[in-house]
């Protein structure tokens, strides 16, 4: 089923996708002419498959549950923000705050992601095949941020229990973020993640970063770290 955003309103399209009839409707949809509109595919809650042909604006597939959305273009700020489950694939580049606060599911960005990728992530898996901008994984709480390219400054600033894997260079680490040993358990975890997401990469080429947990409780001796 095809929706042309030149002919239908965003509300009509989202309403249909949010409330489709499981018995009657197909589970495959295509959206053409997105023209950078915001909140396309926001609030989906069913196991459906959507292809978007073109660039999207802010919050594409925001708060997604179960759906798979593939964007053949670039995405604006906050793609897959607060995603709970499902899978979002971006064939192009992503703007700021990709996967922000996501609780679950997977976000795969085949190009680069701008600053604050994975900010406050809470369990989502984010794979960026290109590079990520500054302050990525800021206050990241849970989940995995995998970067095949480079990471800009202050990676993982004030990170909690999320894990960061970077294949390329890291310009600098943020407060309380440190490089950690990439042991067999981590390699196995990453192997499993790549297999699940059908990604062909060698986990051994990645370095791992996470919290030193020194700033978890406020101590005056640490005040200089902020």
């Amino acid at each position: 089923m095809n929706f042309d955003l030149n002919k239908k309103t965003l509300r009509e399209v989202n309403q249909h996708l949010q409330n489709f009839d499981r018995k009657k409707n197909t589970r495959k949809f295509e959206i053409s002419n997105p023209q950078g509109q915001h909140a396309i595919c926001a609030g989906l809650k069913d196991d459906i498959d959507i292809t978007i042909k073109g660039h999207t604006g802010y919050y594409c597939a925001g708060m997604n549950q179960k759906a798979t959305v593939t964007v053949h273009g670039n995405v604006g700020t906050g793609v897959a923000e607060n995603m709970m489950s499902g899978k979002i694939i971006v064939k192009g580049n992503a703007s700021q705050s990709a996967g922000a606060t996501g609780h679950g599911g997977a976000l795969i960005i085949e190009g680069d992601a701008s600053s604050r990728c994975g900010i406050s992530m809470k369990g989502i898996d984010i794979v960026v095949k290109g590079s990520v901008g500054h302050m990525s994984a800021f206050m990241a709480q849970k989940g995995n941020l995998v970067v095949m390219g480079d990471a800009d400054a202050d990676l993982g600033d004030s990170i909690y229990e999320a894990k960061i894997f970077v294949k390329g260079k890291v310009k600098s680490l943020g407060a309380d973020c440190v490089e950690k040993k990439m042991d067999k358990k981590n390699i196995d975890e990453l192997t499993k993640l790549f297999k699940k997401l059908n990604i062909s990469e060698d986990p051994k080429k990645f370095k791992r970063y996470g919290s030193s947990r020194n700033l978890y409780n406020f101590k005056i001796d640490n005040v200089g770290a902020y």
Binding site: G43, G78, S120, K122
Partner: protein
């Protein structure tokens, strides 16, 4: 003061003690609740009442409407509250589950709303609340689309009166297993929430964020924007521009679960002055009463409610006062107050998690001191009292609807209050700054 001894005005004994505490400990003080300093407030205003030129209503016979509709600018399902007094956002985590349930019970019994906080929505709270406002905060702890759809309204929190520009704080002693689980955090850490939202920065972005929230919730839910009283004229203007159905304005007397004392006492402006500026902004935009204004921060009595409404608010919100109705600072378990180094009437130790009356705690033994059913009745009684007082004052000013109260019904007792509220100094027609 001791006889013949002259205290330093610049360095009174309390200041000397604080300097010496800072010198010993090397760290600022963290505490709960709101500003303790005296600021111009609603006590500095009086109602004129009816006389020769105004016609009063019979106090016990003639009706005085208290209902208010919130969120009818864009939302398909605005909220109709029976009274214009709502319960402010306070997190599960800052408060215990019993306290949250009690607030829901009391508010529901009065046909008004309660609000979640920085920690997500609990089943107890949803189950006990007829109208529940779900906060979207920078941390997004516990945020999920299912709860978003269960909510009756959504409140985007930009700031709060106790700490405009600051994020939430919950010290490790209150991060137990359940709180940690809801927030996806390790147990026992000092949780310091972000002060900025993770996926939008300015009002232009916020407009798009609100569009997303409406898309997710089928354009049904009223969207509130809550701001701390910093620059209320501009903040209100920008909130309207961003597409808010309702603006929530929290003055500096508003409380918090925990933050730095210096923040509580020295950032933000009093509710009185902030409210006037917000109403000015709405009127200039021709949006007064179209975008509803809820004001909070130091509301204690029906007189405060009535004065806020006379100045142009559509409703008020109470936080600290609601906690006090639950027994915060009550003269009970006095030994436990003493263990905290304080006394009933002075306690601001919400941050410790050792609340003697079981309100601001996650300790299961302390929580038993608050029965949610009995405490819910106290909230109901308190809200009833505020409403009766509000109606009494409205009738005395000849109003059959509390929203018909107006600035013309007020006079100020101090020059400061006259300037802030922009009502005449009592006995004069002088409003400072107005030509």
């Amino acid at each position: 003061m001791k006889k013949n001894l002259k205290e330093f005005k610049t360095f009174p004994s309390s200041t000397i003690k604080e300097i010496q505490r800072a010198a010993n400990e090397g760290i600022y003080q963290i505490r709960g609740l709101g500003a303790k300093r005296k600021v111009p407030d609603f006590d500095d205003l009086v109602f004129l009442g009816a006389s020769m030129s105004r016609y009063p209503l019979e106090g016990y016979r003639e009706t005085c409407n208290t209902s208010v509709i919130l969120g009818d600018r864009f939302a398909k399902k605005p909220i109709k509250l029976d009274i214009p007094i709502t319960i402010a956002g306070m997190s599960f985590g800052a408060l215990g589950a019993n306290a949250k349930e009690a607030l829901g019970r009391g508010a529901s019994a009065m046909g008004t709303s309660t609000t979640t906080g920085d920690g997500g929505m609990t089943q107890e709270e949803r189950g006990s609340s007829k109208y529940l406002v779900y906060q979207l905060l920078p941390s997004r702890y516990g945020m999920n689309p299912d709860d978003l759809r269960k909510a009756d309204a959504i409140e985007v929190v930009v700031g709060q009166g106790a700490k405009p520009g600051g994020g939430g704080m919950l010290l490790g002693q209150k991060i137990n297993k359940r709180v940690a689980g809801m927030r996806t955090l390790p147990e026992g850490i000092d949780q310091r929430s972000a002060c900025r939202h993770p996926d939008w920065t300015g009002p232009d972005d916020l407009e798009i964020k609100i569009q997303e929230l409406r898309e997710i919730t089928n354009w049904e839910k009223p969207i509130y924007i809550k701001v701390g009283a910093a620059r209320p004229y501009y903040d209100t203007t920008l909130a309207v521009k961003a597409g808010a159905d309702v603006v929530v304005l929290d003055g500096m007397q508003g409380g918090t679960a925990a933050t730095q004392d210096v923040f509580i006492e020295h950032v933000g402006i009093p509710t009185l002055g902030a409210l006037r500026e917000a109403v000015d902004a709405l009127k200039e935009l021709n949006m007064h009463r179209k975008v509803q204004l809820i004001v909070s921060g130091g509301i204690r009595s029906g007189a405060d409610v009535a004065k806020a409404m006379a100045m142009g608010a559509d409703a008020v919100s109470i936080g600290s006062a609601a906690m006090m109705a639950l027994n915060c600072n009550a003269d009970l378990y006095v030994e436990d107050y003493k263990k905290l180094g304080t006394e009933p009437g002075y306690c601001h130790h919400c941050h410790t998690g050792k609340c003697p009356v079981g309100v601001a705690t996650q300790d299961p033994e302390l929580e038993k001191r608050l029965n949610p059913i009995e405490a819910g009745k106290r909230i109901k009684n308190y809200l009833t009292t505020l409403t009766l007082e509000l109606q009494t004052l409205a009738r005395a000013n000849g109003k059959s609807d509390v929203r018909n109260l107006e600035p013309e019904d007020l006079a100020a007792l101090t020059v400061e209050a006259a300037a802030m509220a922009r009502v005449p100094l009592a006995g004069t027609d002088w409003i400072p700054g107005k030509k």
